[in-house]
Structures are given as C-alpha cells and as structure tokens.
C-alpha cells in the first residue's frame, strides 16, 4: 500500500501564517493605492488645460464660438457678463451701474470726476460720484431735496450719501417690459409690449467713440435709419459722467454742478446773448426717439391742439411736451416719423404773447406758452417772455428727455400713474417712469405752479 503523506502541522501553521501575511500585505497595498488616487489626478477626471487655451484672449473674454450662452455668441447672459466688471464692488471698472456710482478715472476724456470739467481729477471723499443715469438696483439721486411735496424751481438736485432702491429702471434683467410710445403713429395701444432689453441694446461693448459708447441706433429702435450721433458738448476737454448734483432740470446746464441763480448769474444762462448755454448732449432726445417714437410725433388735422403739420394722428400720444434736438427729417435724415420742426414751432412761439401761463384755448399753437423756471430774461422776472428768447426756446432751452428722465434707474417716488410692476431685484413697486424727482417735481421745476 502506498504511503500516505501527512502534512506536518507545524508546516501548515507556517504556510497559513505566510498566507495571512501575504493577504494583509496585498490589502495594505490596495489601501495605499486607493488613498493615493486623489493625488494622482493626472489620471483623474480633472484633466488639466481642458479649456484653458480657449478662455484667454480679448475675444474669449466675452465670446464662445460654439458654446455661447446668449445672442452674439457671448458666454454669459447680460447683465451678468457686464456686471462682472461694471457691477457692485467695482472690480474692473470705474462705473458701477448696479449702484449708480462712478469712481474717478485716471485719464481723460473719461475723467469721471465729481463734477469738475476740464479733465482734472479731484480727490474723492467716501462718497463716490453719482452716475447721471442712476443705477439699475440703487440710485444716488436726491429726489426730494426740499423735503416736502411741493417742489420749487431752481432746485439743485443733489446726490444721496447712500444709494436708495430704484423705483423704475430700464429693464436689463430679462424682464419683458413695455416700450412706451414705440411703433408707428396711430398704432393702437401704448407701445410695444414684451420687449426684452440688455446692456447691449443701447451700448456697444466693442466701443465706437460715441458718448458712453451708445449705439448709433439702439436695438429694437422702431424708427430711423440714420445713425444718431450723440455729442458731448465738452468732448475733447472732458466727459463729465458724474455729478454732485443734478442741477435744475438736470442736463440743461453746461456745468450741471453749478446751481442756477434766480438772477440768471450762472453758467446756465448767458445774460449777454440771452441764451441758455446748456448743450450737454446733442441729439440725445433724437436718440431716445428712435425707440420712443410716438412721443416725438406731432398730430395733424384740425381740432387737435398741437403743432399743426401734416401727419397721422396718434390717438394716444396726441399732445407731447416739446423737447430739444428733434429736427425735421427732411432736413437731416433723422427719424422718419413725424417730428417737431423747431423752425415752425419757434415762429409760432414768437407770435405768442401769453408767456407766463399755460392756456388751452383756441387752436393756434401760439396760445401755448411755457413758464420757465423764473430765470430773468431781458430784465423780466417772469421768464421767457420775449419773442427773441421764445424763438430760442426749442433750440436752446427746451428740455431734453434726459432733463426729466434718467437712463438707468431712479429712486424717485412718483406714484402709481406709471406703475409697471415690481422690481425683481429690490422688490419695490416700479412706478416712477425714470423721473428724477418725487411726485411732479420735474414739472414744478420749470412751471412753478
């Protein structure tokens, strides 16, 4: 019978011991490997440089060729993209359009100083300069400087020490809004609804030499084919973007930081030439009118107490406040929708003799007059009451859109007449129609009724 080999117990123990040790060693090795995996990221999911080469460069700062997130292949929607520099905190720009704040720049012509023209920078205190246009979420406009309901003329509209939530703004956060007065004359309704604006609707991020790099024609402009060039009257010396006060009627002064004196002894009115010298922004009203078309139109046909001229009656915007810079399209190719003719209007005003009060009788436009803010003209204390001065009104004295309104946002408390909803950002009721002053302050500043 063959021999039976019996394992040696001692050897079995030794074999088992080695086997266990080997298993432990293998387990430890595996454990070590698992711990090391996060450190060996070259084989992990976060491959270095996956997109880095596509994210550099000036174009790539804002655009993506194939993965754009918004129109024009921009990589982020506006205003997020723009706020990354022009937003709160001021990380990359001298303007903070969320807060309506401007910081002094270091070079002309963008010397955004506190109201000092000529390109000279001045030291800023803790209160930065305020943007004339306000901000989209907060604005620094002292919209109730008198502290009461009744506004006074010659009001100096100062700058708040701290931003106040806006009560209306041009919507750039994606909220569809109504473009008041947009469209053709005679259209039904009040304008174009569900309009979605962005920063690039009005501004050209690539730069174009315009004041505030405004587009010659804003997006969604309902009229006009000729580009509107907005000129800063002080271009070449400085573009004063900020202000310590908004002055009387805002933009009418050459130096808006110089308060208007009742005796006319200010930069806003030249007593020698009997003209107002405020020419801050040429053509700005025309530019606004490319979107708010029907505000600048005139009505026709007898019976309408407006400027008589051939044209389509607009049942909503029948009578409109005169504004400066609206010229006959036949003469300079401006918006083709009917506009006021200053030459005609001026002659009509010149024939008027009732300067000092507003009447509504008769059909003659000359029955209409405009009470000024009380600036003496030709020795009179009742305002523009001379034919010569009246003739200059529309070309030199009439308000512009931005005389009463702001471009970005205002903190004025006006009431519900222009209620458009609730701010998605501040939660405040939007009802101030981008006006500079509370209540009817912008009216009182001129008409002093």
């Amino acid at each position: 019978m063959p021999a039976v080999h019996r394992p040696n117990p001692q050897r079995r123990k030794e074999v088992d011991a080695v086997r266990r040790a080997a298993l432990l060693f293998a387990g430890a090795t595996i454990w070590l490997f698992l711990l090391a995996i996060p450190a060996m990221a070259d084989n992990g999911p976060h491959v270095a440089g996956q997109n880095s080469t596509a994210l550099q460069g000036s174009c790539a700062g804002c655009h993506r060729a194939h993965s754009g997130q918004a129109p024009y292949l921009v990589k982020a929607t506006m205003p997020t993209l723009c706020y990354s520099c022009h937003g709160a905190g001021g990380a990359g720009a001298t303007t903070d359009v969320q807060d309506g704040v401007a910081y002094a720049a270091t070079s002309t012509p963008h010397a955004g100083t506190l109201g000092v023209s000529g390109g000279t920078s001045v030291s800023l205190t803790s209160v930065a300069g305020a943007l004339r246009g306000g901000g989209f979420q907060y604005a620094l406009i002292n919209t109730n400087p008198s502290g009461g309901v009744t506004q006074d003329s010659n009001r100096t509209i100062g700058v708040l020490a701290a931003g106040a939530a806006t009560t209306s703004s041009h919507s750039v956060d994606g909220t569809p809004v109504t473009m008041w007065g947009a469209g053709n004359l005679g259209n039904p309704g009040v304008g174009t609804t569900n309009v979605d604006l962005t920063c690039a609707s009005c501004h050209d991020p690539h730069g174009n030499g315009q004041y505030r790099i405004l587009k010659p024609l804003p997006d969604d402009a309902t009229t006009g084919t000729a580009a509107v060039k907005i000129i800063d009257a002080t271009a070449g010396t400085s573009m004063v973007y900020t202000t310590t006060n908004y002055g009387v009627l805002g933009e009418m002064a050459a130096d808006p930081n110089s308060p208007l004196n009742p005796d006319g002894s200010s930069l806003q009115y030249d007593t020698a030439t009997k003209t107002f010298t405020g020419t801050f922004l040429e053509a700005s009203s025309r530019w606004c009118a490319t979107c708010h078309t029907r505000y600048m139109s005139y009505a026709g046909a007898a019976g309408n107490k407006a400027w008589t001229a051939a044209g389509t009656i607009d049942n909503v915007y029948k009578y409109r406040h005169a504004v400066r810079d609206i010229v006959d399209p036949a003469t300079n190719g401006a918006p083709t929708t009917g506009v006021l003719n200053p030459a005609t209007a001026s002659s009509q005003l010149k024939s008027g003799a009732t300067i000092g009060s507003l009447t509504s009788s008769g059909t003659s436009p000359s029955a209409y007059s405009y009470v000024t803010r009380g600036v003496a003209v030709s020795g009179s204390s009742s305002g523009l009451n001379s034919a010569a001065a009246a003739g200059d009104y529309l070309t030199t004295s009439a308000p512009r859109c931005i005389t009463c309104h702001v471009a970005h946002g205002t903190d004025a408390a006006v009431g519900t007449f222009a209620a458009t909803g609730t701010s998605l950002v501040t939660g405040t009721t939007l009802d101030s129609a981008l006006l500079r002053l509370d209540g009817r302050g912008v009216c009182q500043n001129c008409h002093k009724k």
């Binding site: 063959p2 039976v4 040696n8 030794e14 450190a39 790539a60 997020t80 990380a91």
Partner: protein
C-alpha cells in the same frame, strides 16, 4: 539465474511504476495499514521567518501611518513620500449655497471659519463653520444695502480678525472671528482718497491693500499700527489690482485684473516675475482671485477663464511655474461662472467665490 530484461513501458497510473516492472511485493503485514510518512518540514530557520514577518509588519505600519497622515492632512503623496512625482490637482469637495454674487472669500488657518462677502442681496459678510454651516451674517453698523458693497476679505494671521474692503465706501471694516464688528480700519496718515479693493496679510501681520486711487492704482502696505510703510507700484504698474497674496519670504503676488496678468514683487517692491496674459496653457485672461497655500502653490482664479490656474512658486527665474488647471465653465459641481476671490487653509483646501453661480466652492486634494 538470469536477470530478467527490463522493458520500459507506460507507468502505472497508481503506482507510477512501469506496468511490467516486476514489483517486489512487500511482505504482507498482518493488518494491511499503509505507512504514514510525515512530511519533512521545509527547512527554514526560525530566524528567517521572524525577519520576514517583521518586514511585513513594518510595511503595514508605514502604510497605516502614511494613509492616516493623508486622511488627516490631505497632503499629496509626493509631499509625504518624497520622490514620487505626480501632477497634483485638487478636486471639488463641496459648495456653500445661498450667497448673492460672492466676491471675496477668506478662511481661518485651520479652516474652522469661512468668510464670504456678497455683493448683491443683503450685501452681508457671511460667517460659516468649516463644514459650511452658516453662523452669522453681518454688516457695518448703521449701513444699509444701498450704502455698502463688501468686496474682498482677509484674515489677520496674528489675531484672527477679519478685514473686509468696501470700495464704494472707501473703507475697510474689521470683525472678530465670529463676525462681531470691531472697528473701521483707519489708514495713517489720513488719506484724502482711499478706494480699497484687494486685501492680504503677510506672516508678520502687515496689511496689504489694493488701492484704486484715481491718480494710479497701487498696493499700500500698512504696519500693525495702521501706518503706511510703503507703496508698491507706480503709474502704469497696475490696472485694477484685485486679489493679493504674500508668501513667507514677503514676495507679493498681485492679480492685475484688467491687465490680464499676475505680477510678482519681492519684499522690497521690485517686480521679479509675472504670469502673462494670453491663450497659451497657463496664461491668463482676467485674473481676480489669488491665494497661496502652505506648500507655496499659487492659485489664480481666472474670472473669464472660469477656472483655477495652479502654479508652483519659488522658481529661479521668479516666474511661477504652471502646474495645472482645476475646474471649467458651467453650473455643476466643479464648474464656475465668473469666479472671483480665493483662499486656502492649512488642510490643503481651496475656497473659491463662484460669483455668478451664487456659491462658494471648496476644493481639496
């Protein structure tokens, strides 16, 4: 008697012997019990076994120590076991949500306090514990949402106090580690223009402030007493300097945002190197946040690059050496949308203010 011839045939399956080989039959034992043959144990000295087992034990112990150290400190392997060369890149760990457009982030050295400045919403300085649980939301006394914009944050290494810049107010506010307002930093001598943005401390506790002075942007260095000791940069040096970081040798790293570069200055203020702007690997677009860790790695948050660029410092030519990129554009974990500030703690964690995604991301190794 003749010897029978041996014929080689196939082995027998049982005995293994050729089938035809004569088999000497053993004498039959009375009980027919097979012999039991004990295996002869392998001759192996006891000493050898002990040595072998001891070797295994040492290997196991080293593994346990290394693994434990890694779990605690999260140090990459090459730092624990020198000689191992790998590309060290962090990965996404977790995020803190509920913040409106965070711009600045700072963290206590141990990582038990995270500070985040938000630029929208309530515009608070938020205080979190190390796990991202919110502890407080604070603001300067008497301020309103419209009167403040907290931007960047830095932690005083000597006291743990938290410094928050506000360019709009021209101020730096100081809080304790739990968010209690302490004071407003007053630079000395008094400055007619003070527009602070980026903040940083060196190991000695000197405060570095990126000042967007209208004359020229610069970095101001203040001593512990608030006195201005020196100015870094002159006309044309900086263009919206954002994030600042200072290493142990006093070298200053500046995220020169609108210039698209990171500039490096030595302790005397002399420029010694830079990371260029461009489209190449490791080049920058809009650097805003910047931070150094205790392994002298430099983290640069590229706002338009939507990623963290990582560099090794201390190079002979003064230029940080590109190591890798962490993150990419997007809204998911590990993705960024216009990130801003950055911070690190001693545990190898990196904190990034993911501005447009309204969160702070925490990365680790």
């Amino acid at each position: 008697m003749t010897t029978p011839e041996l014929e080689v045939t196939a082995p027998d399956e049982t005995s293994g012997l050729p089938i035809d080989l004569p088999v000497e039959e053993p004498a039959a034992s009375p009980a027919s019990v097979p012999d039991i043959v004990d295996e002869v144990p392998v001759k192996k000295g006891r000493r050898g076994k002990v040595i072998f087992l001891a070797f295994l034990a040492i290997v196991f112990a080293v593994t346990a120590i290394v693994g434990g150290w890694y779990l605690i400190s999260r140090k990459p392997l090459p730092e624990v076991l020198p000689g191992i060369v790998t590309v060290k890149l962090p990965s996404f760990a977790f995020a803190i949500y509920g913040i409106s457009k965070p711009m600045g982030v700072a963290v206590s050295p141990s990582g038990d306090r995270i500070y985040v400045a938000e630029t929208e919403g309530g515009r608070y300085l938020h205080v979190y514990d190390g796990k991202g649980q919110q502890l407080a939301s604070v603001a300067p006394p008497g301020s309103t949402q419209g009167s403040r914009v907290p931007a960047y944050v830095a932690v005083d290494p000597l006291t743990g106090s938290v410094y928050v810049s506000d360019r709009m107010k021209g101020s730096i506010y100081v809080y304790d580690r739990d968010g209690t307002y302490l004071s407003t930093f007053v630079p000395k001598p008094a400055m007619s223009t003070f527009l602070p943005l980026g903040l940083a401390f060196d190991t000695a506790g000197n405060l570095y402030v990126g000042d967007l002075d209208p004359a020229f942007h610069r970095v101001l260095v203040f001593g512990r007493d608030g006195v201005l000791t020196r100015t870094v940069g002159t006309v044309g040096t900086f263009n919206f300097p954002n994030g600042l970081a200072v290493d142990g040798a006093g070298n200053l790293y500046v995220a020169n945002s609108n210039d698209g570069r990171v500039l490096v200055f030595d302790a005397t203020g002399k420029e010694t190197g830079s990371i260029p702007r461009g489209v190449g690997t490791g080049e920058l677009g809009l650097p805003r946040g910047i931070a150094l860790d205790d392994q002298t790695r430099l983290y640069v948050v590229d706002t338009t690059g939507q990623a963290i660029q990582i560099y090794a410092t201390g190079q002979a030519d003064g230029r940080p050496k590109y190591v890798g990129t962490a993150g990419e554009e997007g809204t998911g974990d590990g993705q960024f949308e216009y990130p801003f500030g950055a911070a690190t703690d001693t545990r190898g964690r990196i904190y990034v203010a993911d501005w447009a995604n309204d969160r702070v991301q925490v990365w680790s190794y």
